[in-house]
Symmetry: D2
Subunit: 431 residues, 4 copies
């Protein structure tokens, strides 16, 4: 997490200030519940609401001595709230506070990411509808295959990020549990209803069975899901990088006035935003493995997960937030060149229609193997630059024996490939 | 995927025979649909049902020449089915067959894994109920914390694998789509209803928008999910390895008659099964990253994902199947030593009750900080082996000023920690 | 490791037959050494040399009972060699055999990989010299930058795989140690000279300090190195995939007679080999993480590394061997299109010479910022397709105020970029 | 990289201030070389030395407009140095500055890490010599195996980090190259001697063949090496965590006055430092994969590697620096309990001597299989807690038929296992 790739709202979730505020809220809510249950005398929660405060510098100072962050925090709060706060944290263990706080942070982070995805979806949908019938060549293996439309490319992204959204919703739910269950999760000194109360107030669910900590398979699933979403970011970014290649030139990242592409070569306009997204995706993906390694804690917990989460908690969410927002902006402002798409499509001299010919030949009674051979031999000549594919076909007696020249010509109409675009759009965007 | 870590049912999903059978089924179903829609003349599907066959050696032979597996397969089928099969595969692209087949294989694999998890859950539940109140020490940081029960450890595993099951169900659904959409996904030469028909017959959903391939974010999510489940396997395996340590000795993998623990040291009984599971988890987890790297294919597809999937498709599912089955068996036959658990719990001379004392002191009006100090100074003496914790407390005037010795003694009853076990079991296993 | 991506020589290293042969050799050499040192009576090694044999099926059978592979092997050998073999393995532990065997396998595998790299280097050098001065456009961000040569691209690969070779030599050395040090590495029942003898005979070094096993940081380094080399394979493969794109068309994988590019589109010639290499690189890279996770074994060893190595030992080496050999063949037979390179270079209307102009302007006294602005404004017009860059410059009074038109024209000579090619080749290939 | 896990010296390498200082130094050195070669008029370098300065806020401001960091930097420097600086950066490309700077940063980081390792080695050596003959039980699979010494455990760490040092030295060398080769690495507007001059002054080597960038296989190797070293940190940390377990209690992290182990349980002293190291190792290891994914840049470069390096450059080096320093301190201050080691060793009732008995039996003429059976049957009874292993052996007629009771007793002397400790120390620490 570095300022260059951070947005303030997401970054602020991970500030010391936010964390301690959440801790204080958890302690206060727990005290409220205990008071209601009569476990502790009334008054603590009111004191915490009225005078509960902390001092970050003071916490740091205490922590340097006691080497324990929650104890340092509680001491600082006690210093503000006075002796009446002494029932705060009763029967709880540090992880009750830490893990419930992390759940709050991760669900808040998930909410921002969900909003990011919504913005991206809106951009993708707008561009999809705009270019629903903008013909472009479909490429497999980087090689021209058959016509498709630019709108379909955007629709593909839309469908992919709709899945991303569903996955993130599940991951948010997975990670959204609170535990106020004590030293080894037995509620030895706690009433389980405290946990239920705190959870409900924070929009979380109680963890059905915890140890000292909330099980880390939940967090592993969360970060793995971010890794998959980041990989979808990379896919769309890679598509745009390809389209912007000099030789392709079908689309281009918006290049603002005043922007400089290269210190040495003033002519350059580079797809630096999507290249950047490709790198960011590698980072987010990379955090999935440490998160999975965090699952196998020893017995009722060891603290090895903590350092990992202190870094990847912010790093993964902040980076993915930045990446999604950047991608939405790239899509939104993408400069699209339909003329260039048409030009590229046609440059192959109609080779992209080879399957049409193949099918027409088989339908005219030629065996599949022979049809393939006939088409390939003419395609290869065209591919070698010896002339036009259509002309070769019309001059090939074996071909014309099955298909009349006019029939062959009709097979070279790109509109043929448009006929089910509407069906697909219906599936993706609804009727 | 090596025989040592394979079970036949899962491995057979990935055999050449299975794959080609699924391909043939897909081609036959597609022909049926096309015939119903009138796209191809009636007859092909019947020919395929009656005479459709393939010869693996022949396919290999053809593939060596044409360097294309689906073409080799179609040729072999044609050789068996004769010229009437020439409408087979019409308008389809190889990936229509390959990707729909992969969806069939992965959903079948998921079904086996789901059954594996069910068996594991059954074993965990049985052992949880059996040991619901078997007292054992809970450990955080590998250090004695407070009492818990062995049943709770099993219940924790049960809850974790219940989550694993839910995740796998979603991952199965995510990866369970069919695409019969042609060269670049436009249905240029196909009716979308063919896809719908084939999908339904195979228990899949139609892919809303595909390119030449089904988008790989689906597969990435699938393999990432397997990685998270494998990490849960590792967690439980690590727990057992710890319990079997010589100094702990609280549980032990079943050691069969005739088994030899060590070639050099005949006295040894090693937790080799759970150590093995730890390694297998590393493998399955490792496959998540290549699967995520597979997402960013170029344009309407490149084939870089294929080699990855040829290996990790079998490797990840076969290894996880083996691991889950092994874990279920380990749990089922685990030899548990409640006496040893009791002995270990007591070895600390009651230090595990320090929080009870801490709470009683604060409830008796001592400030949190002072109570902590009082308990810690006596605990540390006991920890250093200078004597019994309880005795020290009863001899500490500052402590007895707040708590009468009989009161202190009562705090040392492990039963105190059992009072919410039933609540937790209710949450995990239902009322 | 699947036949499709395996070559027999590398695969055979990992066969049961090979492994047991190496085990027998280790046991025999150890017996020789012990006899020479008088630790065991003379005769065992001769018996092992003369009658030492094993039966794989029999080993499997015994292992099913005793659940210990080395004990099963020793029993099978004893059955062949008779009672005189009873001093075999004396004082040794299974890992002495297993780990020393793995060192033999990995160093043999490294030797094959080194030979693969040599073949690749030879192909790269040949193509580099062939195309030393074949001008092509250099691209940064996928955008035309300045001219370079195709030979330099090959030289870059040559230098990179020279580094790969050096890294592999070190990794081979790192992993090339033998341990015959007994149950926990103390040589309690062994003379360290046995280890030294066995190591020397096998071309290994003695492990300075082992536990029950050879430390796994060695293996982690080995597999991490393979991952880096695989990433270099991916880089070169990606270069070729880009060059073969329809719009670029500067080079092409050799496409054999009879080969079929697509089942549906007979015109296609796809870079399937290099796409495949991209996928294989992901696999090999992915094995680095489990190998690193293998390092932290418990105390004097746990066996969690074993299952990992049983899979990634073969998988990583066999896959990388296949990939390197495939890459060498791709480079060797790569079809290069210098005319197309020239055409692409020129398509930008000389924009690639913008830096030349920029420099000439600054040398003529224009400030860096102004020069940049002058060049960029003309470049952008050309980039937008409004006309020729050279013409715009010659018509820009601010430019011609500093540079005469003839001077500008001279700046557009690609030969300017060739002048240090020979220097670079000297650095890479020697004088 | 977060303050909690950062040390100032390493962190400062990655500050904006440091980076721009290195950039300025590179520009100045390049100008010096160009002046000496007569490529640019004399004066620029003197101006840069005398008046060369930059303003970080101003750079940020300019970058927001031009979206290019090096151009922003050059502009800021120009604003300070005036028009005489206009020959600065002539013929160079941004990456010449960026990549050479990164090489300086990574080699400086490597130097700090090397010093860290030296400090760790010193601590390990001191503790190894101190505990050379401190007997402790060796454990395989977490199960008592045979005696070893605590000094050998430290010697193992010493040997492992000696390897880590060698690997890091190579990685430093690998990454220590400068490139001042222009837009696509052809030295089109530069004399290669400029690169040589700058490299030498910065303690780097010239990159033999670069594109726009220094090839990323070098960086991948660097970060992969850090990942392997981090895994060695994890191994040693895991060892200590095990030794500190309540039931084992053989060693303990130093626990300072005032330190608090648990907010709830005042008796606890947890191995939090080594648990923390375990987590940090996961992080550093995780950065290896993105670094490897960075290798396959497109053509003469794309900028996807940049965002990755901006994060993992600091994160990996700062985290590993922190981890190595923490580990050195843990080892240095580790509290070792030899009495507890002895107690644990003896708790098995001599089972750890089973191999001694096995060997004595075979040497007395019993076949290997029979000897194994005899030892195992008595060991298992002892293991089940039915009595003492030694007593069982002496009461087993089949055993005493081969070995007299006194002979058996003599086999139970732990000193037997010490006889080669000195040999091993000689190998590790030299004579």
């Amino acid at each position: 997490m570095i300022p260059r790739y951070s947005r303030p709202q997401m970054a602020s979730i991970w500030s010391d200030q936010s964390r301690y505020e959440i801790w204080l809220e958890i302690e206060t809510l727990a005290a409220e519940a205990m008071e209601q249950l009569g476990t502790i005398p009334a008054g603590t929660s009111k004191v915490l609401r009225d005078k509960g405060a902390f001092d970050i510098q003071r916490i740091d100072e205490i922590e340097r001595e006691v080497k324990h962050d929650v104890i340092a925090f509680l001491t600082s709060v006690s210093e503000h709230a006075g002796p009446e706060a002494r029932f705060m944290h009763q029967g709880m263990t540090s992880s009750d506070v830490l893990d419930t706080c992390l759940a709050v942070q991760l669900t808040r982070a998930a909410d921002i990411l969900l909003a990011d995805i919504d913005a991206l979806l809106a951009a993708l949908k707008r561009r999809a509808l705009e270019h629903k019938y903008t013909v472009t060549v479909g490429r497999s293996h980087g090689i021209h295959a058959e016509p498709t439309t630019f709108g379909l490319k955007m629709a593909l992204g839309y469908a992919e990020f709709t899945r991303a959204k569903e996955r993130l919703l599940r991951a948010k739910e997975d990670v959204g549990t609170a535990a106020i269950s004590g030293a080894v999760g037995t509620f030895a000194h706690l009433d389980p209803r405290v946990e239920a109360y705190v959870a409900e107030k924070l929009g979380l669910k109680p963890e059905p069975v915890s140890t000292q900590v909330i099980p880390r398979d939940r967090h592993a699933m969360f970060f793995a899901t971010l890794g998959v979403i980041a990989s979808s970011v990379e896919r769309l970014a890679t598509e745009i990088r390809h389209l912007q290649r000099t030789e392709v030139g079908e689309a281009e990242e918006f290049f603002s006035e005043g922007q400089k592409g290269s210190s040495a070569m003033p002519h350059k306009r580079n797809p630096v935003l999507t290249e950047n997204l490709t790198g960011l995706a590698r980072l987010v993906r990379g955090y999935a493995i440490p998160a999975m390694e965090n699952v196998a804690l020893w017995h009722e917990r060891d603290i090895s997960h903590s350092s990992v989460e202190r870094l990847i908690g912010p790093d993964a969410t902040v980076t993915l937030d930045f990446a999604l927002a950047r991608l939405a902006s790239v899509i939104d402002k993408l400069v699209v060149y339909p003329e260039k798409m048409k030009e590229n499509l046609e440059r192959g001299g109609g080779l992209v229609h080879s399957q049409q010919v193949l099918l027409a030949l088989t339908q005219a009674g030629v065996s599949r193997e022979n049809a393939y051979r006939l088409v390939q031999r003419n395609a290869m000549r065209a591919f070698r630059g010896e002339g036009e594919f259509l002309a070769f076909l019309k001059a090939d007696a074996d071909v014309t024996a099955a298909l009349a020249p006019e029939k062959i010509e009709a097979l070279f109409d790109p509109q043929h490939h448009m006929r089910n675009v509407d069906v697909i759009f219906g599936r993706v965007f609804g009727a």
